[in-house]
Amino acid sequence: MFWMNFHVFAISTIILWFAGILMIGLAGKMIRLEWPGKICILLGIISILYFIVILWINLERPPMRTLGETRLWYTIFLSVIGLITYLRWKYKTLLVFTIVMAVLFLLINLLHPENYDKTLMPALQSPWFIPHVIVYILSYAILAFSSMVAAYGLFKVYYKTFDAITIRLADNLVYIGFAFLTMGLLFGALWAKEAWGHYWTWDPKETWAFLTWLSYLLYIHFRMFQPGKIKTPLWALSLAFIVLLICWFGINYLPSAENSVHVYGGE
């Protein structure tokens, strides 16, 4: 029944993160609050990580099956990426974005409590399970972050404070996220061959995963095509994230997805 304790961890994390952001926001030359702020954010991450570890032990299977379980990993990756980017490049705004997004995913889990379900269907019992899911969620987190950077860039364009560094950062993130996305897709193909007999069957989830992949591929090529244009790629990057979200969550609601082999319940 370990999900019953989830709110304790989620709420302490949310409090720690908001305290952390507040401290980092207030930190200036006079007030030395930056370090305590960073530590608060780190503690928040550790609290969720601890929950995942205990959940894993309790479930006796990797907690990567249901949407709620994948949201936990997403929260972790997103906040870690936000913290690392902040430590390295001092982007306060982006740290706030990632933390707000991570909190949003925690809130979804708080509002839609998960079934505590130990079962793992035979098709998911494979050595490919963990690398496939981890690589995918990591890439989703990095690509979400790139879309936040894009939205931030559009905001800066609007206020005429845009500088080229923003889109360069978005480019880097897309390359890294796309690398993981490619690995996730290919791992998925190799696994599908083992589990279902063929590496590609145009299952709705596969189709949308491929479409997500093509969207980011398009962004990468468009940037080479017209490096001078800023607004179009920024919009494209924000929209590509919507395709990604459809692939991740929306697929269950699409008319074309009635017989998907990728619907494992959860909500």
Partner: protein, 392 residues
């Protein structure tokens, strides 16, 4: 512009040749088509690369246009329900409910292969550190799309239904239901299912809804454990995994048709009323048993979920006989075929003596895997490149 023209071409071909499904070419025609494409690409590259149009085809704008076109077709494929017999007439005429083997996907794929192929030829030399990642990604993708689509005509997927106690069999059914013979024969020695413990829940008999205390409404039960579901405290006194209903209790019997049953006691924490009795998920042999906990609610047991299922199979080839175990995610290779555990008789559940095996032969698989490995190497390069730009 060219995208619009190709889009129209795809749709026109579809309408003209409509009804005819593009099932893919079979050996050796697919190889001939593939080699023709490769030769054409080489001719374009070697003799016409300075012609503006051919030059354009290997440019970044052409890449953008071909990805856009291909993505658009994939979007239609992902959005419009496929193989839907009730699709509106126009969608059917344009082939939009069978895009997978339609001309639109063919034309967009061919355009993608052309642009991608020409850019690979243009960039293949010199092979150096800067170029190798580019080649891995582009050539890897080209090989996957090329071999995946040409090879689809040679892909053989046969389902073989085997039953314990019957003799060996060398006939499988393809997706159209035609009988095809295999170069070996199979005999099912044993089929076994391991199940998770059963789950219990409380449901409203009038509305049919589950009591929604989501954390535990359906949890695996264990003997001598207590479960709190809303206001009810449920205690599991005894679990029988294989049982038949007797006169007033369940009796442990380990034979066909037996199902899980549990003796439970339930106490309502608000009213303090108690009840005790048996529940069972039932099987094809007898109906389930519920325990009423008050006027509106009953406690019930769900059918246990399979944890794993496997078939012990004897494979007879003309010179030798092997015995193998086939399990989900653990296929076995025999003579260029891979054997997969596909399903079983779900009506009989754990008492099924029938196992459905899928035999798959895909001669192009090594080529596709070469492309996949190249792209995996290429993605490592992308990761490294992403880091490199950042350092500038």
């Amino acid at each position: 512009m060219i995208v619009l023209e190709l889009l129209l071409l795809g749709l026109i071909l579809q309408v003209l040749l409509g009804g005819k499904h593009f099932t893919g070419l079979q050996w050796p025609l697919n190889m001939v088509a593939g080699i023709t494409l490769i030769i054409l690409l080489f001719i374009f590259h070697l003799f016409f690369r300075r012609k503006p149009f051919i030059k354009w085809l290997s440019s970044v704008p052409a890449a953008v246009s071909s990805i856009t076109f291909f993505a658009f077709v994939v979007f239609l494929l992902g959005f419009i329900p496929q193989q839907n017999p009730d699709a509106p007439g126009l969608i059917k005429i344009l082939g939009l409910s069978s895009i997978r083997n339609g001309w639109l996907l063919f034309v967009s794929g061919l355009y993608l292969l052309t642009c991608l192929g020409l850019v690979i030829l243009r960039r293949i030399l010199p092979i150096n550190r800067r170029n190798i990642g580019f080649l891995f990604n582009h050539a890897g993708l080209w090989i996957i799309v090329f071999a995946g689509s040409l090879g689809s005509g040679d892909l053989i997927r046969l389902t073989v239904q085997l039953t314990e106690g019957y003799g060996s069999q060398n006939i499988g059914l393809d997706q159209a239901g035609n009988a095809v013979s295999l170069p070996f024969s199979l005999k099912l020695l044993d089929f076994a299912i391991d199940e998770y413990p059963p789950k219990i829940g409380i449901g409203n008999t009038k509305t049919g809804e589950l009591v929604d205390d989501s954390h535990i409404r359906l949890s695996l039960i264990e003997e001598d454990q207590q479960y709190l579901i809303n206001d009810w405290k449920v205690r599991i006194n005894k679990i029988l995994l294989n049982a038949y209903p007797g006169l007033d209790e369940y009796i442990s019997i380990d034979s066909t048709g037996a199902a899980s049953a549990a003796l439970i006691s339930v106490r309502n924490l608000r009213t303090n009323s108690e009840s005790e009795g048996w529940i069972s998920c039932g099987s094809f042999a007898f109906p389930p048993t519920f325990l009423p906990v008050d006027n509106d609610y009953v406690i019930f047991m769900e059918q246990p979920e399979p944890e794993k299922y496997l078939s012990l199979i004897e494979i007879v080839q003309h010179d030798k006989t092997d015995t193998v175990t086939i399990e989900v995610n653990k296929p076995k290779r025999v003579k260029r075929f891979s054997l997969y555990q596909l399903s079983y008789d779900e009506h009989l559940g754990k008492w099924s003596t029938t196992s459905v095996i899928e035999a798959v032969k895909d001669p192009w698989l090594p080529v596709v895997y070469t492309g996949i490995i190249m792209m995996l190497a290429g993605s490592v390069y992308l990761f490294w490149k992403g880091n490199e730009i950042r350092k500038e």
